[in-house]
């Protein structure tokens, strides 16, 4: 029996096990929306902006490991998804975006609400499709899900011309067979043995774990490796949660706002084991001065990540989980080292660095320190929550002061650095985890970038909590202006333009709470976590607070600036400049 393209679309989603899609209607997708109107299997969550829909699908994907799905209309609907797609692309998040398109005969005619979204999204998708015949639709949907979720995951876009979704065809579900796409999962055994040899020989090894560990589901194998060989682990922003932040071998985050001891460990190491990470400039600082004494083992599923910006001694292309499984086996069976003894001196050195300069800030009784809010959130949730962040100081303080013990508990835009990501991402995560506490740690600047999604949260009864660290500035940019631009705060002072977030929350039917004194922080958080509704918490924080430590852009990562020695910091800054 022939069915319409709209029905094939929904059938295909059902085959893929999709329960929720995020979207926004419009002219050319009316047929699909009509079919979704009384469909019981696939529920559409209406966001208030297409960008919100993509971030929500992204948060859904990051928190579950399953692909997030988006459906939008052509033209502006499609172009509004671009930031969300680029966000997912940079962080290797599997999402499938369906965009409506004008009828095939009108493509290229500058028709109403036409945009060449396949062309526009080409550089920021893993792959994209324009469906030209309804007969191809189900095959393409299946291929899209396969491409999005296999190998190094990423976003895939499918452009659906109106006549294709209105056309009719038999429903088929052919096996995926793409001859030119064969991701490598198994690491080269010889290379893995070489890696094991290097690990056995090293005296000052350090593991740098990235988002790939989480994507591959390799957290357990990573922990096994670290514990068995007694090697400390530092987690990149995307890798937070891949290894317990509370573990004694944890070094917290490395890089620009990383811990002193993580950066020291990398710089002094004789072996750097990079796992599922890609040596982002925020991690490496000055590349020529990065880990100068270390041999480098690099495990990544994407061959282009290897030797892209650092020299590598042992490249291993493969899935992190599978590679680590083999590596652990080789280490356990073939290596006779007394690990604890070998590492003793190194671990004592690291301990000394930890004591010398822990991640810290100066508490105040008078004014709320933003770090204090993050610490309190951690204390009250005991780490049992899904945390999303926006981008800027809020993101870095969360990375520094919230200890992520489990994978998929931090949702943050690491690669693209998208302000406005956290709130819709939290909405997506909450939908997937109705009984979990989901908290967006935001800034007053970022939250205004997708604040319209309050409507989505409220109408769908999603009890997302938003903790706004309100310093009335675009704080991270202000921090750079203070340090590098002679305190000329060009266009970063939001001040009286910052709206009353309590009133905004209330206007949308959510709950608004405010804390202006340190002793109000805990009661406000407790109240917010108790209420089973969407809550905005407005924390009026010290605007002067900066994120430290800090490595100025382009400096080696052990050239760090610290809070407490103002004079010394200024001197160092001059030297760096």
């Amino acid at each position: 029996m022939k069915i319409t393209g709209a029905e094939i679309f929904v059938e295909s989603l059902k085959k893929e096990g999709v329960k929720h899609i995020f979207g926004y209607p419009g002219g050319v997708v009316l047929g699909i929306f009509d079919f979704l109107y009384d469909n019981k299997d696939v529920q559409l969550i209406l966001t208030r902006h297409e960008q919100g829909a993509v971030h929500a699908a992204d948060g859904y994907a990051r928190s579950t490991g399953k692909p997030g799905v988006v459906l939008v209309t052509s033209g502006p609907g499609a172009t509004n998804t671009v930031t969300g797609i680029a966000t997912a692309s940079m962080d290797s998040i599997p999402i499938v975006v369906f965009s409506g398109q004008v009828p095939t005969l009108l493509i290229g005619n500058d028709a109403f609400q036409e945009a060449d979204i396949v062309g526009i999204s080409r550089p920021c998708t893993k792959y994209n499709f324009l469906v030209k015949n309804v007969e191809d639709l189900s095959r393409i949907v299946r291929e899209a899900f396969y491409i999005a979720t296999s190998g190094r995951p990423g976003p895939v876009l499918i452009d659906l011309p109106k006549d294709v979704t209105a056309g009719k065809a038999e429903f088929t579900w052919p096996e995926v067979n793409i001859r030119s796409y064969n991701p490598t999962y198994e690491g080269n055994k010889w290379m893995i043995t070489q890696a094991a040899n290097l690990i056995a020989k090293s005296k000052r090894a350090v593991i740098v774990a990235g988002g790939g560990v989480i994507l591959s589901g390799g957290a357990r194998e990573l922990r096994e490796l670290a514990e068995f060989t007694d090697i400390p682990v530092t987690m990149t922003l995307m890798g937070l949660g891949s290894f317990p932040g509370t573990h004694e071998l944890s070094l917290s985050m490395p890089g620009m706002h990383g811990s002193y001891y993580a950066n020291k460990a990398i710089q002094e190491s004789d072996l750097l084991i990079a796992i599922g990470m890609r040596f982002d400039d925020r991690v490496t600082g000055k590349i020529d001065a990065f880990a100068p004494h270390a041999k480098i083992i690099h495990v990544d599923i994407d061959p282009t990540s290897i030797r892209k910006n650092v020299r590598v001694d042992i490249p291993i292309v493969g899935d992190v989980k599978r590679v680590l499984t083999v590596l652990n086996k080789v280490l356990k069976e073939d290596m006779k080292e007394q690990w604890a003894e070998v590492r003793n001196a190194w671990l004592r050195q690291i301990d000394a660095w930890k004591k010398e300069r822990p991640l810290t800030y100066t508490y105040s009784n008078e004014i709320i320190k933003p770090q204090f809010v993050v610490e309190k959130i951690y204390e009250l949730t005991k780490g049992d929550a899904i945390i999303s962040t926006e981008v800027g100081q809020n993101q870095m303080w969360t990375a520094q002061f919230y200890k992520f013990d489990k994978p998929r508990t931090l949702l943050t835009s690491g690669g693209l650095g998208t302000m406005g990501y956290g709130f819709p991402a939290a909405i997506g995560a909450q939908l997937a985890h109705p009984n979990k506490l989901v908290i967006d740690i935001a800034g007053d600047g970022s939250i205004q970038m997708n604040i319209q999604e309050l409507a989505t949260a409220v109408i769908n009864k999603l009890p997302v909590k938003v903790a706004i660290l309100n310093n009335r500035y675009l704080g991270m940019v202000r921090q750079w202006q203070e340090l590098f631009f002679s305190e000329r705060y060009s266009h970063t002072k939001l001040d009286e333009s910052v709206p009353d977030f309590v009133k905004i929350a209330e206007a949308y039917g959510a709950v608004g709470l405010r804390a202006t004194k340190p002793n109000e922080v805990e009661p406000v958080l407790r109240e917010a976590f108790r209420i089973k509704r969407t809550v905005f918490m407005d924390f009026v924080v010290d605007w002067k607070e900066k994120v430290f430590p800090m490595v100025p852009a382009g400096a080696p990562i052990d050239h760090m600036l610290f809070e407490e020695q103002k004079e010394k910091t200024e001197k160092k800054l001059k030297a760096v400049k």
Binding site: R122, P123, Y127, I178, S180, P303, T304
Partner: protein
């Protein structure tokens, strides 16, 4: 160093754009490009000439391999191979040079594919050096128009360099 890279790709719309986008998006330069169908009409072969240090060439090869529509990447520079390109040169020589133009065409095993009262159009095939040599020699005779294909390359059978 200059590399000649041969690609087997799916013969679909948008593939050329993906490959061109890969180069432009990462700031790599394409010096020459030629595309054509293979015996199997579902597959095209592309020959790209590009320049870069070892690290860049390694990235280009890996990035090309990563593209979903790319079936195979062969860096011809690492193999013993034959390269060819073709030019069509329209020359408008003075009366006294006409004989010389024809002689040059013959020396370079070119063919006259069109002639008018004032012009000859010569087709020449060869490697880059040969093409450049004939162009240099014909320049003084007055080249009116000049079209050059991208390079195509094929590996020699059974021999591997190094």
């Amino acid at each position: 160093m200059r590399h000649t890279i041969s690609l087997l790709v799916e013969n679909k719309f948008g593939v050329l754009s993906r490959i061109a986008g890969l180069f432009s998006g990462r700031g790599y330069n394409i010096e020459s490009l030629s595309v054509g169908e293979t015996i199997d009409p579902q597959i095209s072969v592309m020959t790209i000439v590009t320049t870069g240090d070892d690290q860049i060439i390694e990235q280009i090869n890996k990035q090309l391999n990563k593209l979903i529509d790319v079936i195979k990447v062969i860096d011809m520079t690492e193999l013993d191979h034959v390269e060819r390109e073709m030019v069509l040169i329209k020359v408008a020589p003075k009366q006294e040079d006409k004989a010389e133009v024809l002689r040059l065409a013959e020396i370079f095993r070119g063919r006259i594919v069109d002639s008018s009262q004032r012009t000859y159009t010569i087709e020449v095939t060869g490697d880059e050096k040969k093409i450049e040599a004939i162009v240099e020699l014909l320049k003084p005779m007055g080249i009116k128009e000049f079209v050059r294909t991208g390079k195509i390359a094929i590996a020699r059978e059974g021999v591997k360099k190094g």
